[in-house]
Symmetry: C2
Subunit: 399 residues, 2 copies
């Protein structure tokens, strides 16, 4: 069998073992359509490479002869870390090659914005703390996934802009890889929420879905055909900067009429200034909470602010449905705690703004996350990269 | 070699022959990474099935020994027709399995809107006329591709709504297939322009691109990873019904603020009524032309109408860029003859509304089509379907 086809076989079988673990060889042949002979050869290779392991089939109660043996991913094959760079902390998680979570750490940061080398140092320290909890070091890692807010070109590892960085156009992946000495997989954090939903969350059974995250900004991750869609320049899915109004409200990006300029924290606070009754010392979070409480209590001005945000959000989401027609839309993020902002009225408003066909509109699911789950998405992204490299390594030996 | 892998080999080799035709067996092995032995076996099968043919290598001037033999797609293997259902005519084109155009016919229709069986009859008559030009009949066709305006679910062959049909929710593919006795491949016409651009046009070298068509409505075709993206319910890419204004202008779909309600013919004419100086007898086309001429001449009211349409169009397109980040945007369709509407100012306006990164924005290309090229797209779509069926047939014989 030719090289590319054998690589295809390795990839397919490893994926099938991951999905159906534990699984017997004969069922693998059935599930993939690959011949039993090839399954035997390739799984022997994968066993030799330490990527999979044999386990006794517990369902085999016959007690006769040699017990049936199943295959599973060998968790011990690789350690992989995931990191979400949050506002004032790093959320870190450690998983094994099977995807089991081994440790988690919340590592506080002294500041919000870093020079690139400063961020690399912080990541080094945070990862050292994470690995310390299992008595290991950074060099025991096969890969580190990192999610960062901003505009990230995954192909080149370039961060065009991030609220966590004091410089623009930073080759951040290379800088961090140098500092850690471990392969680094860097992506926009909203993409990694999509990855987490795909691997561990409500997106597991959907082929095409969209994740919208609402924090201080509005982010989006697009999954098409089970893969994160990243666009040509690696910087698509800028949902927060789609325009919902010609010459509309000013956005912090410098343009006018962006969705963010109507629904983000700063947009609500900008309008809420008319509400302020000497609450000058309150934090943004407190002010937002105050605004929403007032709206709930029926204050006309507060309701006016909150309602428009909801309607603009619905309009933006309906546009996504009209363009993508996804199976599922997942609304994720911290701000989701304010259910009443993005609840029934908003969902109804989406339904009445999408193209009407005699089929159900896509399901909209609200999924609250904490930073740790974002970190798990980052780890899942690195896991895919590590697996691909491992399959390639087996293929190289074969060539 | 196992079944699925052999099918993969057949598909890959046929695609490589199509792309590089004529090509020698040894170069095929090189181009695909498939072993020479497998190339020999599979190409022998494809030759036996009549899908490919051998040709003498004209570059082989050595004159020594047996001349080198190349492989090409055998055009005579299949006849395939493509049809665009236009406003008052059917545009029909006949191609062979190699993609060469053999005939074209413009078949006038007595009306714009049909009951499903009436449309099937019209298609039967149009195709009979097309095949008559080469002395053949409908039963000589291996497939017919049909493009129709409206909301089409390609998975089920269901047309939710079309301006060409008097009924909603018609299982049109099955109805036409029954009437013709030939496999029918039905799709939204904008998708088929995307297909034509991918196979024969400026999209040949792009992996991710978007085609926007402007006629009486606004359509969009999305190509992701070299494939038409169709959405879960088969009805995505409804660019014309993305909302550009909350509670905005009324659209013929019944909703408010749709892009179409600002840029389509009817939207311009609705506003142009203040301009009318007794031109009550002029056709819509004439009235539009009059409006555009006046705007060009500097008439304030006319310019006001035309400029807003351009700016709304730019805003909608910028949103597509912010979401998809495609390599290329192709503006296609008849209305493109009014270059000044969608020219420099509009393109500049797009650039200033997309997320700013230090990379060039996607290329925007204006490509004028006639209905015949839409028909070619329909034929190209059917060609893909016929090829897939042919490969499957070879694989069935093998099993």
């Amino acid at each position: 069998m030719a090289g590319p086809q054998r690589t295809y076989g390795r990839r397919t079988l490893l994926a099938a073992i991951r999905k159906n673990s534990p699984i017997a060889r004969i069922d693998l042949a059935e599930a993939t359509g690959i011949s039993r002979a090839t399954v035997t050869t390739v799984t022997a290779e994968l066993l030799r490479a330490g990527l999979i392991a044999e386990v006794a089939d517990e369902s085999d109660k016959s007690g006769r002869g040699r017990p049936r043996v199943d295959l599973k991913i060998d968790g011990a094959a690789h350690f992989i870390a995931g990191v979400k760079v949050a506002n004032r902390s790093l959320s870190l998680v450690l998983i094994d090659f099977e995807g089991n979570q081994l440790a988690e750490v919340d590592y506080p940061l002294g500041r919000q914005t870093f020079a690139p080398d400063g961020l690399a140092t912080a990541l080094h320290d945070g990862l050292t703390a994470l690995m310390g909890t299992v008595g290991k070091g950074i060099s025991d890692l096969s890969g580190v996934g990192i999610g960062i807010a901003g505009i990230v070109d995954v192909h080149s590892g370039l961060v065009h802009w991030s609220p966590s960085l004091s410089e623009r156009n930073v080759r951040l992946q290379a800088r961090i890889e140098n500092a850690l000495g471990v392969p680094v997989f860097l992506d926009n954090d909203a993409n990694l929420v999509a990855m987490a939903e795909k691997q561990f969350g409500v997106g597991r059974t959907a082929k095409d879905f969209i994740v919208v995250t609402i924090e201080s900004g509005v982010g989006m991750g697009i999954v098409i055909n089970n893969e994160i869609y990243r666009g040509t320049r690696g910087c698509g899915a800028e949902f927060g900067h789609t325009k919902v109004q010609l010459d509309g409200a000013l956005c912090r990006c410098g343009q006018r009429g962006c969705l963010e300029a109507y629904v983000a924290d700063y947009a609500l606070l900008r309008e809420a200034q008319f509400l302020n009754d000497g609450a000058g010392d309150a934090s943004s979070e407190q002010q937002i909470e105050q605004l929403l409480t007032r709206a709930q209590q029926g204050d006309a001005l507060a309701s006016n602010i909150v309602n428009r945000a909801g309607r603009m959000f619905a309009m933006g989401l309906a546009n996504i449905v009209n363009i993508f027609d996804p199976e599922l839309i997942i609304l994720a993020g911290e701000r989701m705690q304010f259910d009443h902002l993005y609840a029934e009225e908003v969902l109804d408003s989406i339904k009445s703004s999408i193209v009407q066909v005699d089929q159900s509109p896509p399901e909209v699911v609200i999924h609250k996350w904490d930073d740790l789950m974002w970190a798990k998405g980052a780890a899942g992204y690195a896991l895919e990269g590590v697996e691909e490299a491992a399959v390639k390594a087996v293929s190289m030996q074969d060539a």
